[in-house]
């Protein structure tokens, strides 16, 4: 059985399920809103591990799982107090300890499941700054980067004539509006260029990520799967709306997106990086500058692949399903 860890509204998961449905292999989709209960974990005398888990009233053994795809989210184990809605009535110290116990059990579950044929890792596995350092250590070009809580440093950088951008250290900040209008709106932080900067007087700032603004020729979105790179060039630089962050999509006049062959040198370095990060899949963002630098921005272990698959005709959904069903 293929175990899929995903989210309720993830359309890419549906496309993979389409392909798995075309085989004889069973699948079990678990959304981030679902919770497992661990019924029994046994390390027996004969080296055999028996772990019975229960989901929505159905039990299965960890051995029933032949492969797993961590598309989005992580395992959430539920305990007896949560099932009975009794957690709030417990002493705070007890709650804290029980949570540690469950966290530890979830850690074991990740370890055991990921020792199966597993595609993807939990998002918490890596962070943007560590990845940048690992990339630089492998000879991959990265943007000049500053994480600072001191606005003077930002002012100084701008005074040197450097064009700079800011973005989140982790994921974009996304928030649903809380006004009373009928339509719920989403608010989001994209990558933004800093111009006309006024520093906060007498105020330390929460650490903020600042990078040089790259003079783009085009962007690359590269999907990595089974040791292969599937790359797409995005010509976002000529549209003011998308030039700093192509995710500010122009739906009326979309960016042109075409398949791209990575130079072998870049491909070898990226492969080395993915090995170091212990990732067998992920979406890599790069920029090719006008002076032909290939600059690495980040890798997302759970990145979107549909946006690469469809315009470039890579048929990645089928390839992922084949990986999971061992075809």
């Amino acid at each position: 059985m293929v175990l899929i860890i995903s989210q309720p509204n993830d359309l890419s998961t549906v496309h993979i399920i389409d392909w798995i449905n075309n085989s004889d292999v069973l699948f079990c989709r678990v959304n981030s809103t679902d919770k497992f209960a661990s019924r029994s974990l046994k390390f027996g005398k004969n080296q055999k591990i028996e772990w019975t888990i229960e989901l929505r009233g159905r039990s299965f053994n960890i051995d029933d799982i032949t492969s797993i795809w961590i598309r989005r989210g992580e395992f959430n184990l539920v305990n007896v107090y949560e099932q009975e809605n009794m957690t709030e009535s417990l002493d705070r110290g007890i709650r804290h300890h029980l949570q540690n116990e469950m966290d530890s059990l979830e850690g074991s579950m990740h370890f055991l499941v990921e020792s199966h044929r597993c595609l993807g890792r939990a998002a918490s596995h890596i962070d943007k700054l560590t990845v940048l350092l690992c990339a630089r250590n492998r000879g991959i070009d990265i943007p000049q980067t500053l994480v600072t809580s001191d606005d003077t440093e930002i002012e100084n950088w701008l005074a040197e004539g450097q064009r700079i951008i800011t973005k989140s250290i982790s994921n974009n900040f996304v928030k649903l509006s809380e006004d009373n209008s009928e339509e719920v709106k989403s608010w989001i932080t994209y990558t933004e260029e800093i111009t006309g900067f006024n520093k906060d007087q007498n105020q330390r700032r929460f650490p903020s990520l600042i990078q040089e603004k790259l003079d783009k020729d085009f962007e690359l979105r590269i999907f990595f799967l089974g040791g292969e790179f599937y790359s797409m060039a995005i010509f976002s630089q000529l549209d003011e709306q998308t030039s700093t962050d192509f995710r500010r999509y122009n739906h009326k006049n979309p960016n042109r997106m075409v398949p791209f062959d990575l130079p072998e040198e870049i491909s070898a370095k990226l492969k080395s990086l993915m090995e170091k990060l212990d990732l067998n899949t992920g979406s890599i963002d790069m920029v090719v500058t006008r002076d032909k630098r290939f600059v690495f921005l980040e890798v997302n272990p759970m990145g979107q692949f549909g946006m690469v698959s469809m315009p470039c005709n890579y048929n990645l959904e089928k390839k992922i399903a084949q990986f999971l069903t061992c075809k």
Partner: protein, 71 residues
């Protein structure tokens, strides 16, 4: 306990000491077609585990005219 204040877009942009990118927070300019598909997917898959007998994938495939829809 003091009730937490709900933040407006301007509250977030002007929050003292916040990460610099908070100044630039924007409302998402969403694609109505994508939004409708996402809503449909969410309503279809809101709950639970789907075993292949109960897969609901095909209606969505038709919605987006998926050329490789399995039989």
């Amino acid at each position: 306990m003091k009730k937490k204040k709900k933040s407006s877009l301007d509250d977030i942009r002007n929050l003292k000491g916040a990460p610099l990118n908070y100044r630039f927070i924007r409302e998402v300019e969403s694609d109505p077609t994508a939004r409708n598909i996402a809503k449909f997917a969410e309503s279809t898959f809101h709950s639970t585990t789907k075993y292949r007998l109960t897969s609901m994938a095909k209606p969505i495939s038709r919605l987006i005219n998926h050329k490789n829809e399995p039989k």
